[in-house]
Amino acid sequence: MKAKAIYESDVIEIVIYSCVAFVLMGLVLILFFYFSRKKIIQKELEKKDLEIQYQKELLSAVIITQEEERKRIAQDLHDDISSKLNIVSLNSHLLNSPNLSENDIVEITGNIINLTTKALDNSRKIAHGLLPPVLDKFGLHAGVEELCIEYSSSKAVQVNYENKTAFDIAENDRHLHVFRILQELMNNSLRHGKATVITILFEETNNRKMCSYSDNGIGFDQTNNKNQKGLGMKNIESRIAFLNGSFTIDSALNKGIRAVFNF
């Protein structure tokens, strides 16, 4: 009887131990899930923070660009138009002064006409620079064509432009971004890249329009972080994001750049 009791207590001991072991196993599993979950959520939060940070940077880039643009417009207005209108106003006052000879009047009115013509011309140029009327009226193809002609006419650079697709004028709002991107790229090629040949090509694959842009300038070192986050690049990136497109840029020192984006 006693031997049986000992045997039974052994059995119970084993039962309890294995039961506790199983529960602990379950507990370990739950703790593992609990901490993994915490860690993963943490990582995701960090990722979200990074994204927000990035968006903030983009936003500040947009604001800075806007301010610079305003500054440029103000400067253009001040230099090219206000100064001329000032002289016009001065000359008009002169006309009021008594005892003017016939010759003086002719000279003054000649001055006024001359200056107003120049001011008009300049205001047209400024307006044109802000938003080319060709782009607005005739679409992206004509706009880019004109842009290329303008750049080519400076003789410093030769622009090859080819278009294998058709642009719907109804999508002009989107195309304006494309135009601005090209403007920015060409500006960079000329100012920083000292390029002499620029090639632009529009193609269409799988219903997505694609633009390839390349130049033969001095390029830049892609591994250098300083080159990657310039204002212009950020501007391009936010425009691409707007178009739901993707953007890749390849470059090496003295190899020119090659940029491809779709929209």
Binding site: I12, V23, G26, I30
Partner: protein, 212 residues
């Protein structure tokens, strides 16, 4: 002591049933399935209580308990899990296990009057695997039946081994027989407390809001 724990277990189970039934109408399908689960388990427990007080063997009810638990919780997880392969595994397991047990009982009807170890093992561990799936899915998503899932996992881990040695313990003398069942009753109370906590955390507020 055993009786005390069992009564507390009944009490919490009853409470759970009441609060879950209260929210029954304005909750999702998974919630309703779980309410049905609580109800069915409660009925089986009451039936076993009645049978034992009448002095009849109630061991055969364990089969109803395990199989009902397996079927209902399988549907519960089928509702919770959205991943295709996991759903496929649940459906396949459900069919395979049920057909296997059906075959087993037609060949050995005698099994009906003792603990069927294979049945205990296969039904409990299938549910444990499903609940692990659910934990895995919740790793990077919002918590859904988080505490119920925890309770199911812990209780099944603990109780499975106790049921598995059930056939052994019935042969022991009275003073030892009770110990595993005390343990089991204790686990059961914890399990039901988890369920209650889940209700408090996830559903009691919603209930109030919709009533206001």
């Amino acid at each position: 002591m055993l009786d005390l724990f069992i009564k507390i277990g009944y009490l919490v189970l009853g409470l759970n049933f009441v609060v879950f039934a209260m929210c029954f109408s304005n909750q999702g399908k998974a919630f309703r399935i779980f309410t049905v689960y609580i109800a069915v388990i409660g009925v089986i427990q009451i039936a076993s209580r009645v049978l034992s007080s009448l002095g009849m063997g109630n061991l055969f009810l364990s089969h109803f308990y395990f199989i009902a638990q397996f079927i209902i919780l399988s549907f519960f997880y089928l509702e919770l899990l959205k991943e295709k392969y996991q759903r496929k595994i649940i459906k396949l397991t459900l069919i395979l296990v049920l057909s296997f047990l059906g075959i087993q009982y037609t060949i050995y009807p005698k099994l009906f009057f003792e603990f069927n170890l294979f049945e205990i093992f296969i039904t409990s561990f299938s549910i444990i695997i499903f609940s692990a799936f659910h934990f895995y899915n919740m790793l990077n998503e919002k918590k859904e039946f988080y505490y119920i899932n925890m309770g199911i996992l812990l209780y099944l881990f603990g109780s499975t081994i106790l049921f598995l040695v059930g056939n052994l313990t019935v042969t022991l003398s009275r003073e030892f027989t009770k110990i595993p069942w005390i343990l089991n009753a204790l686990f059961y109370v914890f399990y039901q407390l988890f369920v209650l906590y889940e209700w408090k955390k996830s559903f009691s507020k919603k209930e109030l809001e919709t009533n206001l």
